[in-house]
């Protein structure tokens, strides 16, 4: 049992799997359960993870990321680099070569025109394309010849693998979508529900928000794959029962994104029908400490730069003490189990970019935190258990989205902070309101009408440049920008902005790593962000399923062509 698990999840699994079978469709039906059901199969119209991953069975990009975050060519013959001449000297263009003899599932040829069309489709101003940011900075996409795609950028692009790379920007068929440009995009229901693709499966039936039936593609480029004749992709319900259907009843083979308390999953695993496996990419659960003043009496100036600094959270010593008082190991044990690791960085991966300068926070130091506050003049004079300085009490409103794991973490952190001498009021907000960004709602994470808030963020792909630019001074949300902006905690530093500018022009990969680390460390030492847990993506995999290589850098289904049914033991 143990050995088989190692074999199925290790990279070697793929090799064994491909040796184990030789014929397309011989392994019958694969049952996958996503507890959030896909609403469409066109990832350009809905950016949700569930839609992107469901679509990844059918449509493919030029290259994907494997479980280590390394690029693997899919439709492309190889990954272009400066060495092989695929990237121009001045970094303003990249040229991809398609694999020979690629076919769409309707039997027609895949050409560079399809890639050009995909770019036109997503960048059409009336289309509302959810993945438009993948084409940021792209000046043009041209078909040099039917096999060659040249992408030109407005300015030198040190990391050019964004457009048409990764599960979020796959190539769609021009012949199918050419009447669906711009405002007509949503009207093409049939096309959006059944895109023609190059992948191992085709769509046989699609019921939005309910169930999808995929069938093995006749024209898939590897003649002996996929091993499964069909895939049933069911959605709906909640994470715990999705796990149960794989681990306890065995009705399904694979369940996605199981954010359930770890002991519940462990108890389910005991029946031996399957296991939970996690993959890690860049998701970090973190606290943002509001650097501006959220006092309701400020009215419109609340939580804006104009409203002034926060009365105590701009004091680094307070932030540091709050961070030191947290026992991240306990947070992981209670809420995440194998799907989380304590972290002290907002940028935990890839390895090249992960700093080790802040690892002191991994161990809770309550006494040190208290001493730090004492030293900074925050003392409890009146004996009410709450520290104060110059009449300012250390009292915070701490909000997050509604989710049982997050509420558990809130309770734990509240207890530690109370012990430290900080008064804490908790609030949880419905996730769709919290992340909804409606400028008229007071409860969005962008408005940040609280002192501290907690959520998870990450970035797509492997390059952190855009992500680290989130904390630029000019990205601070405010009323003038309809509260749009990525610098949630309203951090502003000239030094940091300089690093962002340096990153934008640096092409050398090692130096990029150094800059990213410097950015991370600067943020961490400002204590405006307190990272808590590096989150993995846990999925339940049946013991009868082989070849799964859990991956959080791309679609989890990225190598579904290699999945096979294990021989009954």
């Amino acid at each position: 049992m143990r050995l088989r698990h190692i074999l199925t999840t290790a990279a070697a699994g793929a090799l064994i799997a491909s040796a184990a079978h030789a014929e397309r469709g011989e392994d019958g039906q694969l049952n996958i359960i996503y507890w959030q059901a896909p609403s469409t199969l066109n990832p350009y119209l809905s950016g949700g993870t569930k839609e992107v991953e469901a679509a990844s069975l059918v449509i493919e990009p030029l290259a994907r990321y494997d479980e280590n975050g390394d690029m693997v060519p899919f439709l492309a013959a190889e990954i272009p680099t400066q060495e092989n001449g695929g990237i121009s000297e001045d970094l303003t263009s990249i040229t991809w070569k398609l694999k020979p003899d690629l076919k769409w599932s309707d039997g027609t040829d895949v050409t560079a025109e399809d890639a050009v069309f995909t770019w036109e489709y997503c960048t059409h101003p009336e289309g509302g394309c959810a993945q438009a940011s993948y084409f940021d900075g792209v000046k043009s996409v041209e078909a040099v010849d039917p096999q060659t795609i040249k992408i030109t950028f407005d300015e030198p692009k040190p990391f050019p693998y964004t457009a048409l790379v990764g599960s979020e920007s796959p190539i769609i068929q021009k012949a199918q979508f050419q009447d669906c440009l711009g405002a007509r995009a949503p009207e093409c229901t049939e096309e959006n529900f059944g895109p023609i693709g190059t992948g191992p499966f085709t769509v046989a039936e699609f019921k939005p928000n309910d169930v999808i039936l995929f069938e093995a593609s006749e024209t898939y480029r590897e003649p002996d794959k996929p091993a499964f004749a069909s895939v049933l992709f069911k959605g709906g319900g909640d994470a715990a029962s999705a796990a149960r259907s794989v681990l306890e009843t065995g009705e399904f083979d694979y369940a996605w994104n199981l954010q359930v308390e770890p002991e519940v999953l462990t108890a389910m695993e005991a029946s031996g029908r399957g296991e939970v496996v996690s993959a890690f990419a860049t998701s970090v659960e973190r606290l943002h400490l509001n650097q501006t003043n959220p006092d309701p009496s400020l009215g419109d100036q609340r939580s804006t730069v104009e409203g002034g600094e926060h009365p105590f959270l701009t004091d680094r010593k307070v932030g540091q003490a709050l961070s030191m008082a947290i026992d991240r190991t306990v947070l992981v044990e209670t809420g995440y189990g194998a799907a989380g690791q304590p972290t002290c960085n907002v940028l935990p991966a890839p390895e090249l970019y992960a700093s080790t300068a802040n690892d002191g926070c991994l161990v809770q130091d309550m006494e040190g935190a208290k001493a730090l506050l004492e030293e900074a003049g925050w003392t409890d004079e009146d004996g009410d258990g709450v520290r104060e300085k110059d009449g300012q009490r250390l009292s915070v409103l701490y909000q997050t989205s509604t989710n049982s794991v997050r509420q558990g973490a809130q309770a734990l952190i509240k207890q530690w902070w109370n012990e430290l001498g900080v008064e804490v009021e908790l609030r949880n907000v419905d996730a769709n309101v919290f992340f909804g960004g409606d400028p008229s709602s007071p409860d969005t994470f962008q408005k940040f009408y609280a002192d501290i808030e907690m959520y998870t963020n990450n970035f797509a792909g492997v390059d952190p440049e855009a992500y680290m630019a989130d904390w630029a001074c000019d990205a601070i949300p405010g009323p003038s920008t309809q509260w749009q902006g990525t610098n949630i905690q309203r951090f502003c530093s000239e030094e940091y902005d300089a690093l962002i500018r340096a990153m934008a022009t640096e092409a050398d990969i090692e130096k990029r790593g150094e800059i990213a680390k410097a950015q991370n460390d600067l943020l961490m030492q400002s204590y405006s962000i307190i990272p808590l847990v590096w989150r993995g993506n846990p999925s339940a995999i049946s013991a009868t399923l082989q070849g799964v290589r859990m991956n959080d850098w791309d679609s989890e289904m990225w190598n579904i062509a290699d999945w096979t049914r294990a021989e009954p033991s």
């Binding site: 959810a130 309910d210 039936l213």
Partner: protein, 337 residues
Amino acid sequence: MLNFTLRRLLMAIPTLIVISFIIFALLDLAPNDPTGDLPLTIPPEVREQIRLSLGLGEPFHIRYLKWLQQFMVNEPLNLLEQWTGWSIGDSENRLRITSWATRSPVVDLIAQRLPQTLWVVGMSYVVGILIAIPIGVISAYKQYSWFDQFGTFFSMIGFSVPTFFTGLVLILVFSVNLGWLPMIYDTRLEVRDLGSFWAQVKQMIMPVTVLALFNAAQLSRFMRASMLDNLSQDYVRTARAKGMKERVVLLVHVLRNSLIPVVTVIALGIPTIFSGAIITEQIFRVNGLGQLLIIGIQGADIPLVQTLTFIFAILIVLFNLIADVAYGILDPRIRYD
């Protein structure tokens, strides 16, 4: 009576228009957003583009009037075309109500969801009524007997324990431990032969039980109370004194009169079949109208939620009218004119 019915039907139109406007305003005011469940990796500018492409840039009243036109004119015309095969006007470019999340016509989504909702929720309602009425009648007739005590206890437990709990208990017992019933409802199953019929029955047992228990608990309480009220009335004494058989007294006289308030409860409940059973549908993944509605609400899919709730409103108004007419038939003393 006919006069009353016609007048009420006429009254229903302005009522429904006001209701539709209030619902639309409510949904528009609500602070959730269609881009709320997208990953945070999608930047704010792109989100704004998505909002604009959904038509959120237009002012409120325009959006409302557009929806009203689509619902009142375009969709009925479209249905008519589908049924008759005629082509009326410019049917190619007639805008249908389109859901924001799926970008597909809302009416098609509803049609897709209707079968499983009617099967599961409808069936559970029928089962619930069939259980509740005898329990209510016997409980009242033999008040404070062991049957009554047990019935009371059972229905109170049934009502006070939420469906998320009973559903989970059933799954743990019948799916996990015994392995008799599937815990996930297969919406693709078509009943063609005996085998598939049996599969359909098996997958319906648990959700129907959970819901029927809840419905029966509530209804039997109302039935019992109403029966008790009538049993102590003078006409019952008179009927008995006339020497009528106890069975006739009970089933013809008392039951008929006791049903009057219960009919209200039943009629009010029928539209809720259409709104589905959100929690039960989630637990067993029936993915019917309830699940469609809750996903729409969470994703701020205004056209979808608006259409669903409005159809729901129509049903409510309609069934309230039916209940009123039924009163008049069941109780000749009631006069509306």
